[in-house]
Structures are given as structure tokens and as C-alpha cells.
């Protein structure tokens, strides 16, 4: 007997993502899914952002990590709420992991939830976490052809941060080329050049957060 199925393989995840989206919408929380390759600086960006915007917003972080809780401890040191998900080798976060992690957070009155995905430019892009926007980090110590090599992630991202711009004089990274690839993949993408070390270029990113948060607020 042949049974026509026509069911999306990721429907279970998408259903959970829908639940998450409703939870966040009901509370007016802006939820962001941060993705990058390992070492691009997601945790540094979070440390900086959490400290600099602490007077304005109540923020929390869900940290996805393969094994350790180092990143969660760095984030918690800023005073923000942080909860760690160990994927034990898993290459991405999924909706049920986020729902589990949220049970450990006090989300009432929260303004912004950051989800730091596992460092990997391929798999995380496939899984909806109910976020308002995907944010990609690319550091200038990586190749400027990364967006071309990993198109889906940049195609789906609302924002891409080019990190470590203070190192530009020492590396062979063409900002225009990288940005050109990103725009070709996604003409609506917003690109910021930043340095989480020096703080250069972070203000436009903060303004973007403020605008998106204001738009989300009930």
C-alpha cells in the first residue's frame, strides 16, 4: 500500500518554534538567534552588549555549547541571566531545547532574549527557534568568501555583524567583497562592521536592537 504523506520533515520543530514565537509575542520579548562559526566572537559580542545596554533593557541569554559552560559563565559575569544548553556534540539547537531552557529563566519583564547557537555555519540555519531575527557574525580573520560558501545562513539573516574590524590592517579580508556577497544572497540584510574588543561600530548595532525592541513591545 502506498500512502501519500507530504509532511515537512521538520514539522515537529516548526510547531515548537511556533509555540515559542507566541510565548515571546505575548510578553513583547525580542528574541534573536545568534549564529557564526566557532571563534567569530558571539560570546564577546554578548558580553559587550549585555554590559552596555544593561541600564536600558532586561536581557537574558540561552547559551548553546557542545560541551562546556565557559561561555555561560562569561555571560553570567555581566549580571544578565544565563542558562546553558549542552548539546553533547549536537551541531545545532532546536525548538525543544529552547523550551526546556526557558523553564530555568525568569522571562517576565524581559526585553531581549539572545540565543547563542552552536558555532557552525551550516546546521543551525535549518532549525527555526521561534526567533524574531537571525543574526550572523563573521570575523575578518575568516575568509571573505564565507557568505558565498554558506549561503543559506546569510540568506536567512536579518543582520550580519563583521567582527574584529580592528584587525583589518593585518588580515587579507575585503569588507566590500564580503558585504557584496551578503547583499547578493539577501538584499534586505543589514551589515555592521564592529570590534567587540575596541567597541568600534557597536552603536549602530545597539540602535538596531533598540528599534527592533521598540517595534516588538506591546
Amino acid at each position: 500500500m502506498k500512502v501519500s504523506v507530504i509532511r515537512n520533515v521538520l514539522e515537529a520543530n516548526d510547531r515548537l518554534a511556533g509555540e515559542l514565537r507566541e510565548m515571546m509575542a505575548a510578553r513583547g520579548i525580542l528574541s534573536l538567534n545568534l549564529m557564526s562559526s566557532p571563534g567569530a566572537g558571539k560570546t564577546s559580542l554578548l558580553e559587550r552588549t549585555l554590559r552596555d545596554l544593561a541600564p536600558e533593557f532586561k536581557m537574558a541569554v540561552i547559551e548553546g555549547d557542545l560541551q562546556t559552560d565557559n561561555d555561560a559563565r562569561r555571560v553570567a559575569a555581566t549580571g544578565a541571566q544565563a542558562v546553558q544548553i549542552n548539546t553533547e556534540g549536537g551541531c545545532h539547537l532546536n525548538g525543544s531545547m529552547i523550551l526546556e531552557a526557558l523553564k530555568q529563566l525568569d522571562i517576565e519583564g524581559l526585553d531581549i532574549l539572545f540565543i547563542e547557537n552552536v558555532g557552525n555555519l551550516v546546521c543551525p540555519a535549518e532549525f527555526d527557534l521561534g526567533e524574531d531575527a537571525k543574526v550572523t557574525l563573521l570575523s575578518v580573520t575568516e575568509g571573505d568568501d564565507k557568505p558565498e560558501k554558506y549561503p543559506l545562513m546569510f540568506n536567512l539573516s536579518s543582520v550580519s555583524l563583521l567582527n574584529k574590524v580592528d584587525l583589518l590592517p593585518y588580515v587579507d579580508f575585503d569588507m566590500e567583497r564580503a558585504e557584496g556577497f551578503m547583499r547578493a544572497l539577501n538584499k534586505d540584510i543589514t551589515v555592521f562592521g564592529v570590534s567587540c574588543r575596541t567597541g568600534e561600530g557597536l552603536d549602530p548595532w545597539y540602535d538596531w536592537l533598540r528599534a527592533r525592541r521598540a517595534a516588538k513591545k506591546r
Partner: protein, 117 residues
């Protein structure tokens, strides 16, 4: 390697469909995946085999079919399928524009049908 979680999701749906239709022996499952989903067919195949080994589903044929990418040009609105590449950055076949094409297909990932008794 997200193929393992995809294989698990496929298996979950297959089992639901079999139960719903009162079927116990799986003969074939057909999955269609878009070219842009980053799916590595060999990895997915291996994942499905690993999950069904020594279960009643073990002998089933796992069939994968790729759906090509199809774009609509940002500039002239021509629709085209890039040949021999899964790149999103390809010149429009009508006007040559490389930027900002809309993706019409290539992101699908679904179970088409199962054959079972």
C-alpha cells in the same frame, strides 16, 4: 551534521503514518529535499540506516530525491534554475543580474510517500 536529527524526524513521521494506516511492514520511504537545504544525502541515508538497524523497519528502502533550486530574478523577474551549482550567487539567465534573487524552490524537506503493508 544535522542529518541525524533529520533522520530521527523522518522516522517519527513514518511511524505515525504507519500507525495511522494500520501498517506494520515498511517497504519504501521517499523523501524530497531541496538543493539549498545543505542536506548531504549520504549522511541522511546513513542516519536512517543507523536508526532503523535491528528494528522492524530495517529492510525498508530509503529513497532520496533532490529538488533543484529555482530563483526569480531581482531585476527582470525572469525565473530560472541555475545549472550545475547550488550557489545562490548566479547570474540571471535572462539579464545577467547576480544579486538578490528570490528563492522559489530549493528549501523543501518533506516526506513524499511511504509504501508499507
Amino acid at each position: 551534521m544535522h542529518e541525524m536529527s533529520i533522520a530521527q524526524s523522518i522516522l517519527d513521521i513514518v511511524q505515525q503514518e504507519m500507525e495511522k494506516n494500520g501498517l506494520t511492514r515498511l517497504i519504501r520511504v521517499k523523501v524530497k529535499f531541496g538543493r539549498l537545504t545543505n542536506t548531504v544525502p549520504e549522511a541522511l541515508d546513513t542516519g536512517f540506516m543507523a536508526l532503523t538497524a535491528q528494528t522492524p523497519l530495517e529492510s525498508a528502502v530509503f529513497e532520496l530525491e533532490e529538488i533543484p533550486a529555482r530563483y526569480r530574478c531581482f531585476k527582470c523577474a525572469a525565473e530560472f534554475t541555475p545549472e550545475g551549482t547550488n550557489r545562490l550567487l548566479v547570474p540571471c539567465t535572462a539579464c545577467g543580474e547576480e544579486f538578490g534573487h528570490a528563492v522559489l524552490s530549493g528549501k523543501e524537506l518533506y516526506i513524499d510517500f511511504i509504501e508499507a503493508e
